[in-house]
C-alpha cells in the first residue's frame, strides 16, 4: 500500500513523511490558518449570569468530572464566607479600609463583566435573580461555581419587582443558603458574586426599609443586578435590583414564596399587553372627567402599541367589564390568558373607541422596553425651566422631569413648549419623563 487517508506513504525507511522543511512550514501555516478562521467564526455566547453559591451546579469541564460523584455540598459555601466579609467590613463612613476588604473586594472594572448575578436557592437548582441580569432575554446562560456554563430556563417571573426564578439543570442536589428574616435600616450587608473563579463581595448598608423592598446603598460601584445580599450572619437577605449606588433590593424569603407560588400555578411568564397605568387623582380627574385607568406608557412594539393604544388614552373597559381605576385594570389584565384576543374600550379626545389586542408575556415587554430606552434621547426641556417651583409642587411634578408632550403635541424645544403652553391655557395636560418613568400631569397657569 502506498497511501493512507490520502497521504502518500511510500517514503524510504529512515526518511520522515513530513521531513522536508518547506512541507512542515506549509502544513504549520495551514493549521494556524484553520485555528484563526475557526476562532473567528465561533458563534458568540450570550453574556452569562453568574451564580455565586459555591455549591452551585457542578457540571461540565474538567473539574466537573470530579464533581460528578459528589453528594451534597462539600466546598465552603459563599454564604458562610459572606459572614466573614461583612464582619471585616468597616462602617461605610470610615475612610480607611482594612486590607481584608481589598483582598476580598476587587474593583469591578474588568472589561468583561457578567450581566448580573444570581443565587442558588433550592436543592433542585432554582436560581433567584433579577430581570436586569437577563437583559431582556427569555433564556439565560448561567456560569456555575465550577466555571461551567449552563442554559437555564425561566420558571417564574414577577413583573412588579422584576424578580426572576431560573432553573439550572443539576445532577446532584445543591445546598441552598439559609434565609434571613427582615433587617433593620443601617444594617451592614454584603452583596456577593462570583466571577472568573473569584468571589466578589461588595460592602453595602440598608439605608431604608420599605414595606416591599429595602433601599441599599453601596459606597463603591453600583451593585450588579440580581446580586444576592447577605447579612452579617451569612444568611441570604435580599436580591438587589442593581444598577444604582442606592438601589432597591427585595427580601429573598418573601420573594421566593411568591415566585414558587407563581411557578406552581404554571405562570412562568405573566400576561402583559405592554402598558403602564397611572391612577387618576387631583387635577387629572378633572381633566379627564370620568373614571378609568390612564395609560401613561405604551411599550413600542408591544401588543398594545400594535393595537393602536397611545399614552393619554383612558381605559374604561376590558372585554365586557367596566374599568374604573388603574388597579382594576391591572387586576383584570393579570387574569387574562397569554395569546388571547382582548377587547379594550378607551376614551381618546373625548371620543370612545374599541381596540383589539393580543395578550403577550411580561418578560417580552421587558426586552422591548429596554430597547426603547436606548433609543430615547433628544434635548427635552426640563420642567423647572417652564414652571415655578410652587406650580411643580402643587402638580406633583419633579423639577428634573423632562417634558415629552403638551396636550398631545410632541415637545422639541423650550421655546416651542412655551408656545404650546400659551395655546392651551388656562390648564394643560402634559406628558413627562422622569427616571425612566413616563406619566401625565395637569398643570395650571402661573397664578
Amino acid at each position: 500500500m502506498s497511501s493512507f487517508l490520502g497521504v502518500r506513504l511510500d517514503v524510504t525507511p529512515g526518511q520522515k513523511l513530513l521531513g522536508q522543511p518547506w512541507l512542515k512550514v506549509r502544513i504549520a501555516l495551514v493549521s494556524a490558518l484553520v485555528l484563526v478562521v475557526g476562532a473567528l467564526l465561533a458563534p458568540r455566547a450570550a453574556q452569562p449570569v453568574s451564580v455565586p453559591d459555591a455549591s452551585a451546579v457542578p457540571l461540565l469541564g474538567e473539574q466537573a468530572r470530579r464533581e460528578a460523584a459528589r453528594p451534597v455540598g462539600g466546598l465552603q459555601s459563599v454564604a458562610a464566607g459572606a459572614a466573614r466579609f461583612s464582619l471585616a467590613m468597616p462602617p461605610p463612613t470610615s475612610d480607611t479600609a482594612p486590607s481584608t476588604l481589598r483582598d476580598y473586594s476587587p474593583p469591578l472594572t474588568r472589561l468583561v463583566r457578567p450581566a448580573g448575578f444570581g443565587v442558588v436557592v433550592s436543592a433542585a437548582g432554582d436560581v433567584l435573580t433579577h430581570e436586569s441580569a437577563l437583559e431582556g432575554r427569555a433564556t439565560a446562560r448561567v456560569q456555575t461555581a465550577t466555571g461551567a456554563f449552563e442554559d437555564a430556563r425561566i420558571v417564574a417571573y414577577e413583573p412588579a419587582t422584576g424578580l426572576t426564578l431560573l432553573r439550572v439543570p443539576v445532577a446532584t442536589p445543591l445546598e441552598a443558603p439559609a434565609l434571613a428574616s427582615r433587617a433593620e435600616a443601617g444594617a451592614l450587608v454584603a452583596a456577593v458574586g462570583r466571577w472568573e473563579g473569584r468571589v466578589i463581595a461588595q460592602p453595602a448598608f440598608i439605608s431604608s426599609v420599605g414595606p416591599d423592598a429595602y433601599t441599599i446603598a453601596s459606597p463603591g460601584d453600583p451593585l450588579l443586578p440580581g446580586s444576592p445580599v447577605y447579612n452579617s450572619d451569612g444568611q441570604l437577605l435580599a436580591i438587589a435590583a442593581g444598577g444604582h449606588q442606592s438601589g432597591r433590593a427585595f427580601p429573598a424569603a418573601e420573594a421566593l414564596a411568591r415566585l414558587a407560588a407563581r411557578a406552581a400555578a404554571g405562570r412562568a411568564h405573566p400576561p402583559s399587553i405592554g402598558v403602564a397605568f397611572q391612577p387618576l387623582d387631583g387635577e387629572l380627574t378633572r381633566a379627564f372627567g370620568q373614571p378609568g385607568a390612564l395609560v401613561s406608557e405604551v411599550i413600542e412594539g408591544g401588543p398594545a402599541d400594535a393595537a393602536g393604544l397611545i399614552p393619554g388614552d383612558l381605559l374604561v373597559g376590558i372585554n365586557d367589564g367596566p374599568i374604573d381605576s388603574s388597579d382594576a385594570a391591572l387586576r383584570t389584565l393579570a387574569a387574562l390568558a397569554s395569546d388571547s384576543e382582548t377587547v379594550l374600550r378607551v376614551v381618546r379626545d373625548g371620543r370612545s373607541r374599541t381596540l383589539t389586542v393580543t395578550v403577550g408575556s411580561a418578560l417580552a415587554m421587558v426586552a422591548l422596553a429596554r430597547s426603547a430606552e436606548l433609543e430615547e434621547a433628544g434635548p427635552l426641556p426640563e420642567a423647572r425651566t417652564l414652571w415655578t417651583a410652587e406650580q411643580l409642587r402643587s402638580a406633583g411634578i419633579p423639577a428634573a422631569a423632562r417634558v415629552l408632550r403638551i396636550e398631545g403635541r410632541a415637545v422639541t424645544s423650550r421655546s416651542q413648549a412655551l408656545r404650546e403652553l400659551r395655546r392651551t391655557r388656562p390648564s394643560s395636560l402634559v406628558y413627562l419623563l422622569h427616571e425612566r418613568r413616563r406619566f401625565f400631569a395637569s398643570i395650571g397657569e402661573q397664578p
Binding site: L59, R65, R66
Partner: protein
C-alpha cells in the same frame, strides 16, 4: 489531607497495589484503579473530593502524555503495515457497539434520543488503560501493532460521531435561538473540536520539531516533550478544543516530522511512571463502586450490548486480513475497557440534554466501573493467549527461575 500529602499517599498506595497486583497475576493498572477506588471519596475518603479537584491537573497532564505517546504510532512507516486494516476494524467495532447498544436500549423502552446518546458513549475504548497494560507486559506483535492505533482512531471516531449526533439532536430540541443559529453552533462546534484540535497539535508539533534539534541531552528532550504536551493541553482548554485530539495530533506530527522523534518519545518512558501511577489511582478514586448496584435493566442491556458489539465487531472487521487466528479472536476483548472519555461525554450530555442527565449518568458511571476493572484483565488475557506478552508477570518469572536453578 493537604495536596502534597495526598500525592504521597497516592504514590505509596500505587506501589503497594502494583506489587499486590503482580502477586494476584492481574495487570498493575487494575491494582492502581482498585486501590484508588478504595482510598477515594466514595469508600474510605482518604483522598477527598477537594484533593481530586486540586489534583485534576495531574490527570490531565498524564492523559496528555499518554495520548502523545499513542499519537506517535501514526508514524508513516508503522502505518504501512496496518493502516487501512485498522480503519476498517475501528469502523466495525465502534459502529457495531453503537448499533447494538442503540437498538437494545430502544427496544428496552428508552426514548430514542437517549438510546442514541448512550450508544455513542458505548463506542469509546480507553486509551490510557490499554497502553499501560501493553507497556507492563512489553507487548510486541500483530495484536499490539494494531491495538494502540485502533484505540486512537476509535477515540477520534467517537468524538466526531458525538459531534454529529448532538448536532442533530439539538436541532430536534425546542430552542429560542432558531434552527439556523442552533445548527451553526453545532456545526461549528464539531468542526472546531476536530479540525481545530488537529491544527493545534500540528502547529505545536512543528514548533517542537524546530526545537528538537537544539534539545540534545536527555534532560532537555524531556523538558521539551513535557513542555509541548502541556502547551497543547493548556491551549486546547483555553481555545475550547479537545485536548485528546490535539495531543494525539501532536504525537503524530512529532513522529512524522522530527528525526529526533524517537529520542523525544523514548525520553519520556523513563520519567513518567510516577505520573501514570498517580493518574490511574486518581481515576480509580473517581469511580463510584456503589453505583454498580443501581445498574438496573437498562444498564445491564448497555453493558452486554457494548461488550458484544466490540468483541464481535473487531472480529468481523479483521475478516479477510492477514492476521494470526488468536489475534482475530482476541482483539475485540482488548477494546472492552472504557474510561475518562466516556465520563467526559456523559458530562457534556448532561449539559446539552438535561432531561436525560439522570439516566445517562446512572448507566455510564456504573458501566465504567465494570469496564475499567474488567477491561485490563481481558487485555492481559489476550496478550497471554496470543503470546505477545514479552515479560512474564513477576511471580511467574520468579517461579520459572526457581525451577530452573534448584
Amino acid at each position: 489531607m493537604n495536596e502534597i500529602l495526598s500525592v504521597g499517599v497516592i504514590l505509596v498506595a500505587a506501589l503497594v497495589a502494583g506489587h499486590v497486583a503482580q502477586l494476584l497475576r492481574v495487570p498493575e493498572v487494575t491494582g492502581y484503579l482498585l486501590v484508588g477506588a478504595a482510598i477515594g471519596p466514595s469508600t474510605l475518603d482518604l483522598i477527598s473530593h477537594e484533593n481530586l479537584t486540586t489534583l485534576a491537573f495531574l490527570s490531565e497532564v498524564a492523559l496528555g502524555l499518554i495520548l502523545f505517546n499513542i499519537g506517535s504510532i501514526f508514524e508513516a512507516s508503522n502505518l504501512r503495515h496496518v493502516g487501512p486494516g485498522i480503519v476498517r476494524v475501528t469502523l466495525w467495532e465502534a459502529s457495531l457497539a453503537f448499533a447494538l447498544v442503540g437498538v437494545t436500549l430502544a427496544l428496552a423502552g428508552l426514548d430514542w434520543p437517549l438510546a442514541v446518546l448512550l450508544a455513542v458513549v458505548a463506542m469509546e475504548t480507553a486509551p490510557a488503560t490499554t497502553m499501560m497494560v501493553l507497556n507492563e507486559y512489553d507487548a510486541k506483535g500483530p495484536l499490539t501493532d494494531r491495538l494502540l492505533a485502533l484505540v486512537a482512531l476509535n477515540n477520534m471516531y467517537v468524538l466526531v460521531t458525538f459531534g454529529i449526533v448532538t448536532a442533530v439532536l439539538s436541532l430536534t430540541q425546542p430552542s429560542t435561538d432558531g434552527w439556523l443559529l442552533t445548527g451553526y453552533r453545532a456545526g461549528h462546534g464539531l468542526a472546531w473540536t476536530t479540525m481545530g484540535s488537529v491544527a493545534l497539535g500540528v502547529v505545536v508539533g512543528v514548533f517542537a520539531d524546530l526545537l528538537s534539534s537544539r534539545a540534545k541531552e536527555y534532560g532537555e528532550a524531556l523538558i521539551l516533550v513535557i513542555g509541548v504536551v502541556l502547551v497543547a493541553v493548556g491551549a486546547s482548554r483555553w481555545l475550547g478544543l479537545s485536548p485528546l485530539i490535539s495531543t494525539l495530533a501532536l504525537g503524530a506530527t512529532v513522529a512524522n516530522t522530527s528525526v529526533h522523534g524517537e529520542r523525544l518519545l523514548g525520553g519520556l518512558g523513563q520519567a513518567d511512571p510516577p505520573l501514570y501511577a498517580a493518574f490511574f489511582v486518581l481515576a480509580g478514586a473517581e469511580l463510584v463502586p456503589a453505583s454498580v448496584l443501581g445498574l438496573g435493566a437498562a444498564g445491564l442491556c448497555y453493558t452486554v450490548a457494548r461488550a458484544t458489539g466490540k468483541i464481535v465487531g473487531a472480529r468481523v472487521g479483521l475478516r479477510g486480513q492477514d492476521v494470526p487466528d488468536p489475534v482475530r479472536r482476541q482483539l475485540g476483548y482488548c477494546l472492552v475497557s472504557s474510561s475518562s472519555l466516556a465520563v467526559g461525554l456523559t458530562i457534556q450530555i448532561r449539559t446539552a440534554f438535561p432531561d436525560y442527565a439522570a439516566t445517562v449518568t446512572g448507566i455510564v458511571l456504573a458501566a465504567v466501573v465494570i469496564f475499567e476493572i474488567v477491561g485490563p484483565l481481558l487485555t492481559r488475557r489476550a496478550l497471554l493467549l496470543t503470546g505477545e506478552a514479552q515479560t512474564m508477570p513477576a511471580p511467574l518469572a520468579e517461579a520459572a527461575s526457581g525451577n530452573a536453578s534448584p
